[in-house]
């Protein structure tokens, strides 16, 4: 494997302070609280980039406005730092695994690179949204190890009714 990084000098941004708990909806015991953009962002902002000791938030790879939620359908758009980024599928896979482990089963998640941000946009998107490819990838121990390293910083645990 080449020792050259895809992006040796990424721009690092500071991370925002954690959003305060603005849940002001009164919910009776039977209602399921809907998840919002900020909560999804909270789950993925702390994922580490595979190549640098920075989070996806710090590198502006993910952001709250790039997350769309409609009923039980979540779309996460992420922006690779450079158009030829070969780590894009790995980053997308890490996002998927984090959400798979944290969200209730009713959510369907689609993950795309921001349009125009990657030279193999269609190919990366197709791989990330093929659940058989994802399942097979997660049976590949070296790949799983790499994903776990990206996810190793503890993430907030969502308490959902």
């Amino acid at each position: 494997m080449s020792s050259e990084l895809f992006n040796a000098n990424p721009t690092v941004f500071s991370s925002a302070r954690s959003a305060s708990n603005t849940s002001d909806t009164e919910s009776d015991g039977d209602e399921v609280e809907e998840i919002d953009q900020d909560e999804i962002f909270g789950l993925i902002r702390t994922i580490y980039d595979p190549e640098h000791p920075n989070t996806l938030e710090e590198l502006r790879v993910v952001s709250a406005p790039q997350i769309t939620i409609k009923r039980n359908h979540i779309v996460v758009e992420f922006t690779p730092t450079v158009p030829h980024c070969g780590m894009s599928t790995l980053i997308g896979l890490s996002i998927r695994v984090r959400l798979l482990r944290s969200l209730p089963s009713r959510y369907k998640v689609d993950i795309f690179v921001k349009p125009g941000s990657h030279q193999s946009e269609h190919s990366v998107n197709k791989q990330l949204n093929d659940k058989e490819r994802v399942a097979a990838a997660l049976e590949n121990p070296p790949l799983v190890d790499t994903v776990e390293k990206c996810l190793s910083k503890p993430s907030p645990i969502l308490q959902l009714i």
């Binding site: 039980n72 089963s105 369907k108 197709k126 093929d130 659940k131 058989e132 490819r133 399942a135 097979a136």
Partner: protein, 344 residues
């Protein structure tokens, strides 16, 4: 683990046996041989396993009759392992006669094996026609013609040339994304495909004059029998493969399609399932004036497996049970449905 069923119907299902395969990874697909005695498994470990049931130690003189009382109690044994694929095996299927077995993989290839006596398997061909993963293979119900569906968005048909090489004789293009599943009509003149592009499409081999005739206002249905190209004589006319139907009801990827005889006559019933969780059953009737088909939705069951994706659907092939099908989902359950009541 004991399985059990709960239902209000006259049919009861119980878990018969568990085969602890030696596959090292997910068992992705299974296929029964036409005789119903052999089971093939396709695994992400890249191998195909072949399984047969050993003698039932408790069998009395009435036991083991073909077609009677189902399976015995003998242990299932691995009688063969087909190696060759380089990456995950996605699908496996026996030909109608049971003498051929096809497998496919993420390595872009389709392998064809001949089933020989004494559990020997001879590789008859390795077909590298697709440019991406091959997701599924499906044999024609009568002819030795194989269809494959791929991540490259196409469907390919293969046949054995008389000079003894398998080759791809046509490619069906039209889907905008991965083709996950294929099903031939029981009559063998149509092929249904289910795709990540959320559509169900039906393809047929039609007389080349069919489109021109329709455009000219002639009433004509010129769907031809599907036969190996080498057997067609000039007297049988030239045909080409066309898409005769597109169904756009699904809201997410379709993962599986099955075509059964149904109970309404005509071409039968097509069932489709996918990521939107809905089980849909269509009645297919031919139109004598056009090659185009207009599938009619007769049952739609949302949330067939609750919030989970439905990954597979299969009609019961047994006579008298043409309204019964099974679905499997990410909830880990198998559900048996009967169409008239629409209840599980």
């Amino acid at each position: 683990m004991e399985g059990s069923s709960s239902s209000g119907s006259d049919l009861a299902f119980k878990s018969s046996q568990t085969i602890h395969t030696e596959h090292l990874k997910t068992v992705r697909a299974v296929a029964w041989s036409p005789a119903g005695k052999t089971l093939a498994t396709a695994s992400f470990d890249s191998n195909v396993g072949i399984w047969e049931q050993g003698r039932d130690n408790d069998a009395d003189e009435d036991g083991g009759e073909d077609g009677e009382a189902g399976l015995g109690n003998g242990e299932w044994e691995c009688i063969g392992t087909l190696e060759g694929h380089e990456t995950e095996c996605k699908s496996v299927a026996y030909s109608a006669s049971g003498t051929l077995l096809a497998s496919c993989s993420r390595d872009k290839s389709v392998w064809i094996w001949e089933v020989q006596p004494d559990a020997e398997f001879e590789c008859m061909g390795v077909l590298l026609e697709h440019s991406q993963d091959v997701k599924c293979v499906a044999w024609h119900p009568q002819e030795e013609i194989l269809a494959s569906g791929s991540y490259d968005d196409t469907i390919k048909l293969y046949v054995d040339d008389p000079s003894d090489d398998w080759y791809c004789f046509t490619t069906l293009k039209g889907h905008d994304s991965t083709v996950w599943s294929l099903a031939w009509s029981p009559c063998g003149r149509y092929l249904a495909s289910a795709s990540d592009d959320k559509t169900l499409r039906i393809w047929a081999y039609v007389d080349i004059s069919a489109t021109a005739a329709e455009n000219a206002g002639e009433k004509n249905n010129k769907v031809l029998q599907v036969k190996p190209p080498s057997t067609l004589t000039s007297g049988q006319g030239d045909g080409r493969w066309v898409q005769v139907s597109v169904v756009e009801d699904a809201e997410r990827s379709l993962y599986s399609v099955s075509w059964g005889k149904g109970k309404s006559g005509g071409l039968g019933w097509v069932a489709s399932v996918g990521g939107d969780g809905t089980l849909r059953v269509y009645d297919i009737q031919e139109d004598p004036s056009s090659v185009a088909l207009k599938p009619k939705l007769i049952t739609s069951i949302p949330d067939a497996h609750g919030v989970y994706d439905v990954n597979g659907v299969s009609w019961n092939p047994r006579r008298g049970f043409e309204d019964v099908l099974a679905t499997v989902g990410d909830d880990g359950s198998v559900k048996i449905w009967r169409v008239d009541s629409g209840k599980c």
